[in-house]
Symmetry: C2
Subunit: 404 residues, 2 copies
């Protein structure tokens, strides 16, 4: 179905923090010199970008259509459940605010969230590099995605999730054959526990940005947006729910990459949305801070956004600042109300994380971060199928109800 | 993103049972003469099928890429959540049985099932023809799909579901704004109750095959298979879980249509899979019966397959017979075990209905209905996300456990 003349242009890995280069033909975690995030670099010297772009129309719709800009060298190593190509929907404006509102809906991806993108690419690369034993700490969605792709690739998988994670999600991970370990605390503590317990286990750590390839999968969010809207039709702003922040880093990489090969002129502004109870990235952006300090006493009803100390936060801040975006917070109450409105008024059932960008629109308009006449794309990161809005409503404090 | 030179080729409606023709420019339910199913007919006299087929590559991936062969005349009436374009996955054979096994996975469609296809098209057509008040009796998935597309189109929706329908599914329908009415019995009794209660209500009945356009949406399953595999690569056999049977009728219509315009030579054999506890279609096929008689004492753990007396069953039998397919039954135990195996061995979480085709493969091989060297496509109709395999296991009788 797809042409395969060229294959991956992966060249090497680099650490942007300490400018170390590393070969990409062996498994790698963080930078061995400084402990920072390693990113994939591509050799695009002889890359005929225009011919490649034109040829995309003859390829199928999964994220592997961009394989030249992805790290998997051999198609036989692809671990796929058909991920990618999620639709961009028009959201009829409910008020006369003059913006065009779009939503890219990743809720239909395998395992119901955008996490499939990163795990498809990272697990494929694990297969290519011979890793058989994989683990990840996760608020839930990444665990489910790793469990699914691990099952598809016949890898051994352990997932570490916070106490209190949805029992249905834990049962699903187990049904894929993954071992599930629940640990106390937020993703920060769960991640620390996982890395301690896994020392010497031979397990490969797929934590956010602690290996170089999940972010390559997330890069396809940006590639797809340009592919679907056309380079001249890209939105002015993209509003993205920010937990670990890989999506922002990935989209920024995609846009820079397409610009570097002459396929894109204007890059959308990236807006990071976080809940009021856990907004370390938004605070750092507002304070013009060079890095993200841990958020004390984090709390939110959106599990995927309960990330008080994201790793490699310089890369996240860079993505927002380089695109001239900003950060914005929303209340849990506004998140739940946005879930209700998206479902009832637009026919979209989304996860709490995915509702956060919708909740942020009024604040972005109020502060004139986005303006009438602009096109704003909300990134809907996951399906609402496993969630009960009423249960989330009940979990809000009595002073924070969306309804009485 | 898509070219719109041509638009729908819809011509009129016809009843195959009594050869009545009707105009298609007003709302229609069943045949006013004989009460049979009305089907859409297209005027393809001046249709340049080869040019159209070639031009598909420049269109986006939703089912609206086939709009010339769909009934919606005006693009402004499209009610879309991005449905269609579901992936076809390779299922690594677990035994050395010599067949190539593919799976088309509709679990990522809006609301998590293939029902989105029919409802997207039927609700769009309701918008086009000015229907504002819609209802459907359903085992669950069609209700959810109508609730979602109804919300998207700002229509009033009532759904009738059997007592005992998953509470999460009922809550989801309500979150879309639909009114949910639970009624006793199987879909047969629920449907009868709905039609009685709705007399004089002004509500439009979207029951399976009781209006002409849901099956047009289902037709896109067949169009997509040919589109994705190429006309020369179509599978030898398609194995389909059969409740109301619209999917079989729709796929058959798609293949006949593509053959009639010269785009397809070989038509896949269609196999209807039903559970042992409710197999009226399979029985009629085995008995060479001209119609499907109601199944007494129906029972199965797959709600979507609990259809003891499908409407317009002649059309279902015709689809299977004309393609030289057959019927096959599977036990509830085999369905649950197939859910487990698809999830653990292939990374696919599917609904009980969707697991039935996988459960049927060994029987199809044993009876030599499919043979080594053939390509067999399993139609996976829905996601497993809302289901607990352990709960389904527990619901099996003690003599019917998949595990002890």
């Amino acid at each position: 179905l797809a042409t395969t003349e060229t294959g991956s242009r992966l060249s090497h890995l680099s650490c942007r923090a300490c400018c170390t280069d590393l070969p990409s033909d062996r498994p790698a975690g963080v930078c061995p010199t400084c402990g920072g995030a390693l990113l994939a670099e591509y050799d695009l010297g002889a890359f005929d970008a225009r011919a490649w772009w034109h040829g995309l129309r003859d390829r199928d719709r999964t994220l592997w259509r961009y394989r030249e800009l992805l790290p998997v060298a051999d198609d036989r190593h692809l671990v796929t459940l058909g991920e990618g190509g999620s639709p961009i929907l028009e959201l009829t404006p409910s008020s006369d605010d003059g913006i065009r509102l779009l939503a890219k809906d990743d809720g239909g991806l395998p395992t119901g969230s955008f996490k499939a993108r990163g795990m498809a690419v990272a697990v494929s690369r694990c297969v290519e590099l011979g890793r058989t034993d994989l683990f990840v700490p996760s608020a839930g969605n990444a665990a489910l995605a790793l469990a699914a792709y691990g099952a598809r690739a016949h890898r051994r998988v352990r997932v570490y999730v916070p106490d209190g994670t949805l029992p249905t999600l834990i049962a699903s991970c187990r049904a894929y054959g993954a071992e599930v370990r629940t640990r106390p605390g937020t993703l920060r503590e769960v991640g620390a526990a996982a890395r301690t317990e896994e020392q010497g286990s031979g397990g490969f750590d797929l934590s956010t940005l602690r290996e170089p390839y999940r972010v390559e999968g997330k890069k396809t969010m940006g590639l797809e947006i340009v592919d679907q809207t056309g380079p001249n039709g890209v939105p002015d702003a993209i509003v993205y729910p920010t937990g670990g922040g890989t999506g922002l880093v990935g989209m920024h990489r995609a846009f820079e990459l397409l610009r570097s090969v002459g396929l894109l002129e204007r890059i959308p502004r990236l807006y990071a949305v976080q809940p009021e109870g856990c907004a370390p990235v938004v605070r750092a952006l507002r304070d013009d801070s060079p890095r993200v300090d841990p958020w004390a006493d984090p709390h939110t009803i959106a599990p995927g956004l309960l990330v008080p100390a994201p790793f490699a936060s310089e890369r996240i801040l860079e993505a927002v600042r380089a695109t001239r975006g900003a950060g914005v917070t929303v209340s849990d109450r506004a998140i739940v109300e946005s879930m209700r409105r998206l479902q009832r008024e637009h026919g979209l059932s989304v996860s709490p994380e995915a509702a956060a960008p919708y909740a942020a629109v009024s604040e972005l308009l109020r502060t004139r971060a986005v303006r009438p006449g602009e096109t704003v794309l909300l990134y809907l990161t996951g399906t609402g199928l496993p969630f009960s809005i009423d249960a989330l409503d009940a979990a809000l404090g009595p002073g924070d109800q969306t309804r009485t």
